[in-house]
C-alpha cells in the first residue's frame, strides 16, 4: 500500500473531518431545541428554574456551536481541494442545495445566534425568545439541505448526463429536494440528534442530583430529558425503518453488506444475523446466528419478501457497469456499524425508559449510586450510534462516490500530490484532537458549574445586564 496515495489520504481526511464535524452537529441541532423549549417554559410560567436551565444548556450549546461552525467550513472547501474531479462532475446538481443552505439557512442561523447571545437585554423578551426559535428553524433547515446534497450521492435523481458525459446536469430541483433518501434520512438524523441532546440533559441533571445539588431544577430537567430521549427514539426507529426500505430499493448492495448476506434469499431464509463470521477474504460466511424472516420483514415489510445477496448483486453490477470493479463495500465495516448503530440507540432508549420508571415518584434523593452513574454514562450512546451510522451510510456507498455514476477513485483531485494531502491530514488531525480535548473540558466545566454559575441574583439587575451584553 502506497502511503502517499492521494486517494487513500483524501478518503481518510474526508472521513476524519466529517466524523469530527459530526461530533458537534447533533448537539447543535438537538440542544438548541431543548434550550428553546426551556426558555419558552420560563417565558410562560415565569418560574426562574427554567431560566437557569436555559442559561446552563445555552452555555453548553454555544461552546459546542463554535466548533460546529468552524469545522463546517472545512467540509465545504475540501470538495474542491481533494475532490475536484467530483466537484466538476456534480457541481451543477450538488452545488445548488449547498448554495440554498447558505442563502436560506446558514446566514439565518448565525445571525440569530448572535442576537440571542448578546440580545438578552437589548431585545424585547418575546423577540429574544423568537431569536432562539429562529436558530432552531435555521439549523434544522440547514441539515435538510446538506442531507439533500448527500442523498444525491446515495441515490442520484433529478439530473441528466451532459451530452459528452462529462457532468451531471440538474433538470429537476424538486426531485433533488424530495429524494426518497432525504425524506427518510432527514427525520432519522434529526431525531437521533434530539436523542443525543436528551441524554446530555439527563447526564448533566443526574450528575447534580447524585451530589444533592439544585434538586428541584435538576429533577425537572432530568424528567424532561428522559421523556425527550424516549420520544426521539420512537422517531429514530420509525424513520430508520423507512430509511431501510428506501435503502433496499435504491442501494440493495448496501443492505446486503449490512447483513453480510452473500446469496439472495426469500422468506424464512432472509434471516437477520445477530452475529456472523466470514472467511478472511470476505467472500463466504462460516457461521452466523440468525433470526428467520426478520430481514425480509425489515427490508420489504413482508414475511415472504426477497432480499438480494452480495454475490448476485456483484454479478448484476458487473453486467450493468462493467467488469474489473469490486462493487461490494467492505463487508465487515458495514455489517458491524449497522449493528452498533442500532444497539447503541436501543440501549440509550432502554436506559431512558428505566430512568423514567425509577424516578417516577416525587423523590429527589439518590436512587442508587450506580443508577446515577448509568444515567451519566449514557450521554455518549446516541452520539456514538450516530457516528457509526454515518460510517455505515458512507462506507456502504463505496466504491461509488455517486451511486451508479462515478467511482470514488475517479472523483479525487488529479493534480494534488499525496504529500500535500498528507500535510493537511496531519494538520487537521493535530488541531482537531487538541480542540476536542479543550472543548470537552470546557463543556464538562460548564456542566459541573451548574445553573448558578455566571447568573448573578435577580436582585443585582444592573450587574446582570452588563454580564449579558458583554459576553466575551
Amino acid at each position: 500500500m502506497d502511503l502517499l496515495d492521494p486517494l487513500l489520504l483524501a478518503r481518510w481526511q474526508f472521513g476524519l473531518t466529517t466524523l469530527y464535524h459530526y461530533l458537534f452537529v447533533p448537539l447543535t441541532l438537538g440542544l438548541v431545541l431543548v434550550v428553546a423549549i426551556f426558555q419558552t417554559v420560563w417565558h410562560r410560567t415565569g418560574n426562574v428554574k427554567w431560566l437557569h436551565l436555559t442559561r446552563l444548556f445555552g452555555k453548553i450549546f454555544l461552546i459546542n456551536f463554535a466548533m460546529g461552525v468552524v469545522t463546517g467550513i472545512v467540509q465545504e472547501f475540501q470538495f474542491g481541494m481533494n475532490w475536484s474531479a467530483y466537484s466538476r462532475f456534480v457541481g451543477d446538481v450538488f452545488g445548488a442545495p449547498l448554495a440554498f443552505e447558505g442563502l436560506m439557512a446558514f446566514f439565518f442561523e448565525a445571525t440569530f445566534v448572535g442576537l440571542w447571545i448578546f440580545g438578552w437585554d437589548r431585545l424585547p423578551r418575546l423577540l429574544h425568545l423568537a431569536s432562539i426559535w429562529m436558530v432552531v428553524l435555521g439549523s434544522t433547515l440547514s441539515a435538510y439541505f446538506i442531507l439533500a446534497a448527500n442523498a444525491f450521492m446515495q441515490n442520484p435523481v433529478g439530473y441528466q448526463l451532459a451530452t459528452d458525459g462529462g457532468r451531471a446536469e440538474l433538470i429537476d430541483i424538486g426531485a433533488v429536494l424530495t429524494n426518497p433518501v432525504v425524506l427518510a434520512a432527514f427525520p432519522h438524523t434529526i431525531f437521533a440528534a434530539w436523542m443525543f441532546a436528551g441524554t446530555v440533559v439527563v447526564a448533566v441533571s443526574a450528575w447534580h442530583l447524585s451530589r444533592g445539588q439544585h434538586l428541584d431544577t435538576m429533577r425537572s430537567s432530568l424528567r424532561f430529558g428522559l421523556w425527550f430521549v424516549i420520544a426521539s427514539f420512537v422517531g429514530v426507529a420509525v424513520s430508520g425503518d423507512q430509511l431501510s426500505l428506501v435503502m433496499v430499493a435504491t442501494q440493495p448492495m448496501k443492505m446486503a453488506a449490512a447483513e453480510a448476506m452473500w446469496d439472495s434469499a426469500c422468506g424464512a431464509d432472509a434471516s437477520f444475523s445477530l452475529f456472523s463470521i466470514g472467511t478472511p477474504d470476505g467472500t463466504e460466511e462460516i457461521w452466523s446466528l440468525r433470526v428467520p424472516y426478520l430481514l425480509s420483514l425489515l427490508s420489504t415489510h413482508s414475511l415472504d419478501g426477497c432480499v438480494e445477496g452480495l454475490n448476485d448483486l456483484q454479478a448484476l453490477y458487473t453486467e450493468q457497469f462493467g467488469a474489473g470493479v469490486d462493487y461490494r463495500p467492505i463487508v465487515w465495516v458495514t455489517y458491524w456499524s449497522f449493528r452498533w448503530m442500532m444497539a447503541l440507540g436501543g440501549l440509550a432508549a432502554l436506559i431512558a425508559v428505566a430512568g423514567l420508571w425509577v424516578t417516577r415518584k416525587k423523590a429527589t434523593g439518590p436512587v442508587s449510586t450506580w443508577m446515577w452513574k448509568v444515567a451519566i454514562w449514557s450521554a455518549p450512546l446516541p452520539l456514538l450510534g450516530s457516528l457509526v451510522g454515518w460510517v455505515f451510510t458512507e462506507m456502504g456507498r463505496q466504491p461509488w462516490i455517486v451511486f451508479g455514476l462515478m467511482l470514488t477513485e475517479d472523483g479525487v483531485s488529479p493534480n494534488v500530490p499525496g504529500w500535500t494531502v498528507l500535510i493537511s491530514l496531519i494538520a487537521f488531525t493535530l488541531i482537531y484532537a487538541t480542540l476536542a480535548v479543550v472543548e470537552f473540558g470546557l463543556i464538562l466545566r460548564a456542566a459541573q458549574n451548574g445553573p448558578d454559575a455566571g447568573t448573578p441574583g435577580a436582585d443585582d439587575e444592573h450587574a446582570e445586564r452588563a454580564t449579558r451584553t458583554t459576553v466575551y
Partner: protein, 344 residues
C-alpha cells in the same frame, strides 16, 4: 445580461460582503497587540465584534457554496490549485473562531493570552492570504487544457500576489482599527484613532502601487471592463484618503464608511479586471476559464437566481437590523461592571 454573467457579479458581491465584513473583524483581531494594553481594553476590543464576527464569517461559506454551484469548474480549479494557502486559511479560521468562544471561559490570564495570540495570528493569516489568492486569480496561473492547475506553491508566491496580500492585510487592518475607534471609548478609542491614521497612510502607499499594477495589467491585457476598473481603483484611493482625514478629525462613523468604500473599490478593481474571465491560464489563453465555460447550466442558475433574489435582500435586512441592535459603543465602564458581576 445572461445568467452566468449575472452570477459572476453575485459571487463577486458575496465575496465583497465577506471582505467588507470579515475584513474589519480581521483588522479588529490584528489590532489586539497594538491597542490591547490591559485585559479590560482587550475585552473591549473583542466585544466590539462579539455579536457579529460569526455572521460576518458566514459570508465566506455562502460565497464558497455559490461559487461551487454557479461555477463548478472555477471552484474545482481554484481550491485544488491553491491547496496549501487555502489549508492555512482554514486552519487560521478554525483557531480564530474557537478562540473568541474559548478565551473568556476561564479566568486565567495565561489561558487568555494564549487565545489572544491565536486571534491575532488567525486574523492576520487569512487577511494576507485572501489577498494573495485573489491577486493570483486575476493575474492568471498555469492551467492546462483540462482546467487543472499545473503550477506549484512557488508560482503562487510571486511579487504581484504578495503585494496583493500586503494590500488586503493593510486594508483590513485599517478598516478594523477604524471599527474599534467607532465602537469604543477611552484610551482604546483614542489609540485606535491615531493608529487608523498611520495605518491609513501606509495602506494608501501599498494599495496604490498594487492597484496601479493591476490596472496596468488590465490595460495591456485589453480587459473589456477597464474603465470600470479604473473608476473603482480611483474610488478606493479616494476612500482610503477620506478615511485618513475623517479619522484625524475624530469622525469615525464617516471613516468607517470610507473603509467600506475602500474595500469595495479594491475588490471592484480586481473583479472588473478579471471580467469576463474567471481564472486566466498563464499557460495558454485557450485554456482560460471564463464565465461561459466554467458555469453551471441555465436551469441551475435560474433557480439559484430566484433564491438569491428573494433571500439576499432578506439577509441584508436582518443582518443590518443586527448591526442596529448592537449599535452602542462598548465602553470601558461596561466591561468593568461586567467583570465585577462575574466575580460576584
Amino acid at each position: 445580461m445572461d445568467l452566468p454573467s449575472l452570477w459572476f457579479w453575485i459571487v463577486g458581491f458575496l465575496f465583497l460582503g465577506y471582505f467588507v465584513l470579515d475584513g474589519f473583524d480581521f483588522g479588529v483581531g490584528m489590532s489586539l497587540p497594538f491597542l490591547g494594553r490591559d485585559e479590560t481594553s482587550r475585552r473591549q476590543i473583542i466585544n466590539t465584534i462579539g455579536p457579529v464576527w460569526d455572521l460576518n464569517e458566514t459570508w465566506v461559506i455562502v460565497a464558497g457554496a455559490c461559487l461551487f454551484a454557479a461555477f463548478p469548474e472555477w471552484y474545482a480549479t481554484l481550491f485544488s490549485g491553491f491547496y496549501l494557502p487555502l489549508l492555512l486559511i482554514l486552519l487560521a479560521l478554525i483557531l480564530r473562531g474557537v478562540s473568541f468562544e474559548y478565551r473568556h471561559q476561564r479566568d486565567d490570564l495565561r489561558w487568555k493570552r494564549h487565545f489572544d495570540l491565536m486571534i491575532v495570528v488567525g486574523s492576520a493569516v487569512p487577511a494576507f492570504l485572501w489577498g494573495v489568492a485573489v491577486a493570483n486569480i486575476v493575474r492568471g496561473v498555469p492551467i492546462d487544457q483540462d482546467f487543472e492547475f499545473t503550477g506549484t506553491l512557488l508560482d503562487l508566491l510571486n511579487p504581484y500576489a504578495l503585494l496583493g496580500g500586503a494590500t488586503t492585510l493593510l486594508l483590513f487592518f485599517t478598516h478594523g482599527v477604524t471599527f474599534v475607534a467607532l465602537k469604543t471609548d477611552g484610551p482604546v478609542h483614542a489609540g485606535a484613532r491615531r493608529l487608523a491614521v498611520r495605518a491609513g497612510v501606509l495602506t494608501l502607499g501599498v494599495a496604490g502601487v498594487f492597484l496601479a499594477w493591476t490596472l496596468a495589467d488590465a490595460w495591456t491585457g485589453g480587459a473589456p471592463a477597464f474603465p470600470a476598473a479604473l473608476i473603482a481603483a480611483a474610488a478606493a484611493a479616494v476612500c482610503v484618503l477620506g478615511g485618513i482625514i475623517a479619522n484625524a478629525r475624530d469622525r469615525e462613523g464617516r471613516a468607517f464608511a470610507f473603509g467600506v468604500g475602500a474595500v469595495a473599490g479594491a475588490v471592484g478593481t480586481l473583479w472588473f479586471s478579471l471580467f469576463p474571465n474567471v481564472m486566466p491560464s498563464a499557460t495558454d489563453p485557450a485554456f482560460t476559464l471564463t464565465i461561459q465555460n466554467a458555469s453551471s447550466t441555465d436551469y441551475t442558475l435560474t433557480i439559484m437566481s430566484w433564491a438569491a433574489l428573494i433571500f439576499l435582500p432578506l439577509v441584508l435586512a436582518y443582518q443590518g437590523w443586527t448591526y442596529w441592535v448592537f449599535r452602542t459603543r462598548v465602553t470601558r465602564r461596561h466591561i468593568e461592571t461586567a467583570g465585577a458581576a462575574a466575580a460576584h
